[in-house]
C-alpha cells in the first residue's frame, strides 16, 4: 500500500510539470481532474479509520473534486475559448525549470518539518507543498483567466491534501461545507469568466487593466 500511494503521488508531481509546460487548456483541465481524483482517494491509503460516514464523504469528495469541478469548467468554457493558448507571462521552458526546482525544493525541506503522521509516506507533504505553490505560480504566470481559475483549484487541492493527511479530527459536516464553498466559488468564477468573454471578447486578463490608480 505504501508503494502504491507514493507511486500515484509521483504521477501527481509529474502532472504538475506537465501543466507547467502545457499550452492547451483542455490538457490543463485533465491534469486537474487527475489531481482531484488522487487527493480525494488519499484517505483510503494512509490508514485513517474509515467509518461509513468517512467512506461516503470520500466518495462525494471524489465526485466533486475529480469529476464535478473539472467537468463544470470544461463545459462552462467550451463555447468561450477552449483549445486556446494560456498566454504565459513566464515562458514554458522557464516554467518547467521553476517546476523542477520547486519539486526538488519541496522534497528537500519536507523531512525537516518532522511531522509524525507522515513518516511512512515520504511524498505526501512534498506533493501538497508542490500543489499549493504550483497553483500560485499558475495564478501569477498566466494571463489567461481560465488558467488562473485552474491555478486556484490546484492550490485548493493542495490545501485539501494537507488537511486530509495531517489532521485526524475529520468532521465530515464541516469538510462538506468547505467543499460546497469551493464548488460555489468555482461556479461563480466560471460565470464571471463567461461575462468577461462576452464583454471583452477574450479572456486575457491584460484587458482587465482599466481600474487602477
Amino acid at each position: 500500500m505504501i508503494q502504491s500511494l507514493d507511486t500515484i503521488l509521483v504521477l501527481v508531481l509529474l502532472s504538475v510539470l506537465f501543466s507547467f509546460g502545457s499550452s492547451r487548456l483542455p490538457a490543463l483541465i485533465k491534469v486537474l481532474a487527475f489531481q482531484g481524483v488522487v487527493v480525494s482517494i488519499v484517505p483510503f491509503f494512509i490508514g485513517h479509520e474509515l467509518t461509513t460516514g468517512g467512506i461516503a464523504f470520500t466518495i462525494v469528495t471524489l465526485l466533486i473534486r475529480g469529476f464535478g469541478i473539472p467537468l463544470y469548467i470544461y463545459l462552462a468554457i467550451k463555447k468561450v475559448a477552449i483549445g486556446r493558448e494560456v498566454e504565459p507571462i513566464v515562458g514554458y521552458h522557464a516554467s518547467l525549470l521553476a517546476g523542477l526546482a520547486l519539486i526538488v525544493g519541496a522534497i528537500f525541506v519536507s523531512p525537516k518539518f518532522n511531522l509524525p503522521l507522515v513518516q511512512d509516506h515520504a511524498l505526501l507533504l512534498p506533493t501538497a507543498i508542490v500543489l499549493i505553490v504550483a497553483g500560485m505560480f499558475l495564478l501569477m504566470a498566466r494571463r489567461n483567466a481560465i488558467a488562473m481559475v485552474l491555478g486556484y483549484i490546484m492550490m485548493e487541492n493542495g490545501i485539501y491534501l494537507i488537511g486530509t493527511s495531517f489532521s485526524v479530527r475529520a468532521q465530515h459536516i464541516v469538510e462538506f461545507g468547505i467543499l460546497l464553498d469551493v464548488l460555489a466559488g468555482v461556479m461563480i468564477m466560471a460565470i464571471v469568466l463567461q461575462n468577461i468573454k462576452k464583454t471583452f471578447d477574450d479572456v486575457d486578463t491584460a484587458l482587465l487593466r482599466t481600474l487602477k490608480e
Partner: protein
Amino acid sequence: MWGFMVEIVILLPFAMGLLAFFVPQSIGRMLLIITGAAHLALSVGIWIRRPAAFLDTYFAVTAEGLLSLLVISLLFFLIAIYTRGYLKEQQIPSEPVFTGSMLLFLATMTMVTLADHIMVMWIAIEATTLASAPLIYTYRSAASIEATWKYVLICSVGIALALLGSVLLALSMDLGGVDVPMSFSALAGAAQRMDPLWLKTGFVFILVGYGTKMGLAPMHTWLPDAHSEAPSPASALLSGVLLNCAYLGIFKTHKIMHAAGLGDFSGTILIVFGLASIIAAATFILKQTEYKRLLAYSSIENMGIIAFGTGVGGLGAYGAVLCLVHHSLIKSSLFLSSGNILLGYADRFIVGTGRLAKLMPRTFVAFFGGFAGISGFPPFGIFFGEVFIIIAAFRAHHYVGVVLFIMSICVIFAGFANHVMRISFGASGGSVQFQEKAAMVWPQYALLLTSLALCFWMPDTVSQTIMNAVQTIGGGF
C-alpha cells in the same frame, strides 16, 4: 424558542434571500426592509438574552460577535430603507438578483459573527465573498466585471490561505495532544498546550488570508475597485460591515495566540500590517480622482488603524474596537451620501462635482458630517479611539510606529479635506437633477447621530461588552 434563536437569525435572511429571487420588484424592496427590521429585533433579543446555540459545537454568542452582529443588523436595516428609495431613482438590471444577494449577504455575515468553530468561520467568510460578488457586478459594465473578477479571485485565493492556516492550527492541536473541539472558545482554554511553531505559522497564514478580505495592505488591491463599482448601498455594506467580519476572524485567532502566550508575536505582525495599510492609504488618497475610491482608501486607512490598535493591545485594543464600531456607522453613511452625489451629478469623478452645499444641502450635511467623523474630529468616536491607540502605543514604547501613525493620519486628513472641500464648495458647471427625498437622507443622519450619541452616552451594557471582548486579547484600561 430561545434555544434556536442563534440559528433562526442566520436562517431568516437566508430564506428571505432565496425568496427575493422570485418575487416582483416592489415586494422584493419591502422584503429588504421587513427582513432588516426582523433581524434587528432578533439581534437585540440575542443581545439581551445571550442564548446558547443549539449547534453549540459550531456557533456561540461571544462579546465581539454580539457587537458586530448588532452593528450589522442596525446598518442593514437603515441601508435597506435607503435602498428602497435608491432603487426607485436608479434603474438596475435584474433587480431580484440584487435584493436576493443583499439578503444572502446579510445571512452569511450573521453567520460569521456567530461562528465559533474555526472551519465554520472560514466557510462563513468565504460565503460572504460569494454572496457579495453579484452585488459588485450589478451594473454589468466592463469596469464592474473587472472589479468582480479581481474581488472574487483575490479574495478566494487569500481566503484559501486562511484555510491553510486553519488546517495548520488543527495540526498544532494534534502535535500538542490537545483533544478539545476545534472552536475558538475551547481552544482559548487549551492554547498553552498547542504546538507553538505551527500555531504561529497558522496565525500568519490566517492573518494574510483574512487580511486580504479586511483590506490590509499590500493585499488591498481589490478593495477600491469593488467599492467604487458596486451600487452605493452595496458599497456601504461592503465597507461598513464586511471588513468587520474579516477582522473578526483575525481577532478570534489573535485571542488564541494571546491565550497561548504568543500575543507579542501576533501583535507585532498586526502592527506591521496596520502601519503598512495606513501608509498605503496616505500615499494613494492624495491623488484620487473619484470620490467613491477616496472613501474606499479611507476604509483601508481605518482597517489599518484597527489592526494597529489591536496589535498594540491594552488601551489600544479598546480604542480599536471603538474605531471599528464608529467606522462602520460613519463610513456606511458616507457611502450612502456618495450614492446621492452620484445620482445628482451623474459623474463619478471629483472634478464633475462641486457646490454640493448649495445644490444638495441635505446630502451635504450628511456628507460633511461623515467626513468630520471619519477624519477623527472630536467629539466623534474615531477621535477617542485614535487617542486611546496613540496613548497605548506610547505606553508600549512603539515610538517609531506611533510617529508613522500620526504623520500618515495627518497626510490622509489633508488629502481627504482637500477633496471634500472641492466637492462641497468648488465650482460646478451644471445643475443637479435629483430630489433629496427623506428616505435617502434620513438613514445617513440616523447613522451619524447613533455614532454621535455613543460618544456622549454609551449604555453600560455596550461598554461592558466591549470590555469583555478586548479583555480576551489583553486589552482594557
